[in-house]
C-alpha cells in the first residue's frame, strides 16, 4: 500500500463517523490498542517536545525501508501518531521524504497539523522526514 492509499483508507474509515464524538472515540481506541514503542526506546534522545504534548519516535532502517514506532503522553496525539506511523512506516526514505500528509486535515483535525498549535505531532512529522532524508543520503553514499 502506498502512503496515499493508506491515507485515503483512513479518510474513508472516518467518513463513517459523522459525529465528532465518534471520530474521537475511534482515535482514542487506536491510541489504546497500540503499544507503540518499545520501553527501551522511550529515551530523552527520542523525545520530541511539543508545547502541549510529548512524542517519542524511534526509527529502524531495514531492507531499504524505515520502520517507525512511536508514542505520546496525550491520548489524542497518540491516536494520531498511531495513524501516521501506520501510513509512513515501512516505506522507503524517498517516499517518506516526499510524502504529503493530508489525512489529518481531511478527517477534521487540522489544528493538529497547524504550526501555530505547536504540538508534538507536527514536530514528529518533521522528525520523520529528517530521518528519511538522512537515510536517503546514506543510501546514496553506499
Amino acid at each position: 500500500m502506498t502512503i496515499n492509499e493508506a491515507q485515503d483508507e483512513i479518510i474513508e474509515e472516518f467518513a463513517f463517523f459523522p459525529e465528532w464524538m465518534e471520530k474521537y472515540e475511534y482515535i482514542i481506541q487506536l491510541a489504546k490498542d497500540l503499544p507503540l514503542i518499545d520501553g527501551q526506546y522511550k529515551t530523552e534522545a527520542n523525545i520530541i517536545k511539543g508545547c502541549q504534548s510529548r512524542v517519542w519516535l524511534h526509527p529502524e532502517f531495514k531492507d531499504g525501508k524505515i520502520f517507525f514506532t512511536a508514542d505520546s503522553d496525550a491520548l489524542i496525539t497518540k491516536g494520531l501518531v498511531a495513524m501516521v506511523v501506520k501510513v509512513l512506516s515501512g516505506q522507503t526514505p524517498k517516499e517518506i521524504a516526499d510524502a504529503e500528509i493530508y489525512f489529518i486535515d481531511e478527517i477534521g483535525l487540522r489544528t493538529h497539523l497547524s504550526p501555530t498549535r505547536s504540538n508534538g505531532l507536527l514536530s514528529m512529522l518533521k522528525q520523520m522526514k529528517l530521518y528519511a532524508v538522512a537515510y536517503q543520503a546514506q543510501s546514496l553514499q553506499n
Binding site: M21, Q52, R54, A74, L75, I76, N119
Partner: protein, 415 residues
C-alpha cells in the same frame, strides 16, 4: 432552576452584561461558545469597539505638536485616557502612567533601565516561583548581562508563597523585588502589600505584575505603595497591543530612558539630546493612540457597572465554580482552595490536559491547557500542564454547569 436569581449578582445583570460583548454570541461547532479563557485575554464590550471606530472615523491624527484641529482632538482624547488610567489605580500624578505595549514590555522597560543604572555584579533580583515568563525572562536577561543573581521565593504545595522564604531571601544583596499580584496559572492572590512593606523596610523597590489582578481586584497604587505596577489592556476589556506601566514619579525620574526616538526627546542635536519630561521620556515613537483611547473606554465601561459590583459578582461565581469543579470525580485543583481569584487550574486525574481541552473545545467550551507561560510552576508540581478555566463577570453559572458536564464527557471518552 433559579436561573434568574442566580444571574443577578451584586447588581450585575449577567444577561444584560453579556449583550454588551458581541463575541459571546459566537457558536463553536454549532454550540454556543462558553468562553473560559479570560486570563489569556478578555472579550471586548461594544463600548470599546465604538470608541476605536469613533477615533479612526472622526479624529484619527498623530498626537502632540500638531497645529491642526484633528491632532488637537486626538491628543486630548489620548491624554484623557491617561487620566482615566491614573484615576482607576489612584496614581498620584497622571505622568506616572507610562503607555506601553503590555505587561511584558512594562516589565522589560523597568528591568532594562533599572539594571543599566543600578544593578551591579553580585546583586540579587528577587522574584517568586509562580511568576509568568514575562516576569522571569526579562530579569534573567539583565542578571546575565550584569552578572547579578536571580533568586526565587518558594511556594508550597497549595501554590502559595512561602513568606518565611521571602523573609530569608530578602538579604542586603537584593536590589529589586518583582512579584505577581495574582498568579495566572494558580489563581493565588499574593500578599503584595506585606511584601512591599518588608522590602521598603530595606529600601528595596518593588514591581507588582498586576496583569491578572487589575481586572479582578481593586488596585490603589498609593495604598499599596508600589514602586512600579504593570498590566495589559487586552486582559481588562481593552484592545490588544497596549499596556500600562505605573511608576512612582521619583523612580521614573531616576531611571534612564528606555527606547529612543520621536516624542521622548526635548531637543536633538547629533552632539547632545535632551530627554523629555515624564511620561514622554519613556514613550518613544508614535504611540498607540487608538489603544489608549480603547483602554480608556474599557475603564469607563467598568466604572459604569462599578468595579466593586463586578468584583463581587466574580467572587460569587468563583465560589460556585470551585464548588462545582471540586465535585467532579478525579478532579484535582492545582493551586489554593481559598484566597484566589480569576483562574482555576485543574487536572482530571489520569488524563492529559491537552486531551481534556480538545474534547471541551469540541463542545464549544474554550479553556486553556498547558503551562500557561509558567513552566516553573508545572515543574514544581511535576505535571505537564493543567486545564485552566478562567472566569469573568460575564460568565454564568449555567456555563460552569456546562463545563462540569463537558468534563464528565471527557472522562467518559478518554477513560
Amino acid at each position: 432552576m433559579l436561573q434568574n436569581d442566580a444571574d443577578i449578582i451584586a447588581g450585575i445583570d449577567v444577561e444584560k452584561v453579556r449583550s454588551d460583548f458581541p463575541l459571546l454570541t459566537r457558536k463553536i461547532y454549532g454550540k454556543p461558545l462558553v468562553y473560559f479563557d479570560n486570563a489569556a485575554t478578555s472579550q471586548k464590550p461594544t463600548a470599546v469597539l465604538d470608541a476605536l471606530e469613533d477615533y479612526y472615523r472622526k479624529y484619527n491624527a498623530n498626537v502632540h505638536r500638531g497645529v491642526h484641529s484633528l491632532s488637537q482632538e486626538a491628543t486630548e482624547a489620548y491624554e484623557g485616557a491617561r487620566r482615566k488610567v491614573a484615576a482607576y489605580i489612584n496614581a498620584a500624578y497622571d505622568h506616572e502612567i507610562i503607555f506601553t505595549r503590555g505587561t511584558t514590555e512594562s516589565i522589560n522597560l523597568v528591568a532594562a533601565t533599572f539594571a543599566r543604572k543600578f544593578l551591579k555584579e553580585g546583586d540579587v533580583v528577587l522574584i517568586s516561583a509562580m511568576e509568568h515568563h514575562s516576569n522571569i525572562v526579562p530579569w534573567q536577561l539583565v542578571c546575565e548581562e550584569k552578572n547579578a543573581k536571580l533568586e526565587v521565593i518558594a511556594i508550597n504545595e497549595h501554590g502559595e508563597l512561602l513568606m518565611d522564604d521571602f523573609e530569608k531571601k530578602l538579604t542586603d544583596k537584593v536590589k529589586f523585588v518583582s512579584i505577581t499580584y495574582v498568579s495566572n496559572s494558580l489563581g493565588t492572590i499574593n500578599p503584595v502589600q506585606e511584601i512591599i512593606k518588608r522590602a521598603h523596610a530595606k529600601n528595596i523597590p518593588v514591581l507588582i505584575d498586576a496583569a491578572q489582578a487589575v481586572v479582578h481586584l481593586p488596585i490603589d497604587v498609593q495604598k499599596l505603595d508600589a514602586d512600579f505596577l504593570a498590566f495589559s489592556s487586552h486582559k481588562i476589556y481593552g484592545p490588544t497591543g497596549f499596556g500600562i506601566l505605573y511608576g512612582k514619579e521619583e523612580w521614573l525620574n531616576k531611571l534612564p530612558p528606555y527606547q529612543g526616538g520621536g516624542e521622548m526627546i526635548k531637543t536633538v542635536t547629533f552632539e547632545k539630546t535632551i530627554y523629555n519630561d515624564l511620561p514622554y521620556k519613556f514613550e518613544a515613537g508614535t504611540p498607540d493612540i487608538a489603544g489608549a483611547i480603547g483602554l480608556g473606554a474599557a475603564i469607563d465601561y467598568i466604572n459604569s457597572h462599578g468595579k466593586d459590583n463586578i468584583f463581587k459578582a466574580e467572587e460569587e461565581l468563583l465560589e460556585y465554580a470551585m464548588d462545582a469543579l471540586t465535585s467532579v470525580k478525579g478532579l484535582r485543583i492545582v493551586g489554593p482552595l481559598t484566597n484566589r481569584v480569576g483562574s482555576i487550574s485543574f487536572l482530571l486525574e489520569g488524563f492529559h490536559p491537552f486531551d481534556v481541552g480538545e474534547i471541551l473545545d469540541k463542545q464549544g467550551i474554550a479553556v486553556r491547557t498547558g503551562h500557561h507561560c509558567t513552566q516553573p510552576v508545572m515543574d514544581f508540581f511535576c505535571i505537564p500542564g493543567t486545564v485552566r478555566a478562567s472566569l469573568s463577570f460575564y460568565n454564568t453559572r449555567e456555563e460552569i454547569d456546562k463545563l462540569v458536564k463537558g468534563l464528565e464527557k471527557a472522562r467518559m471518552m478518554l477513560g
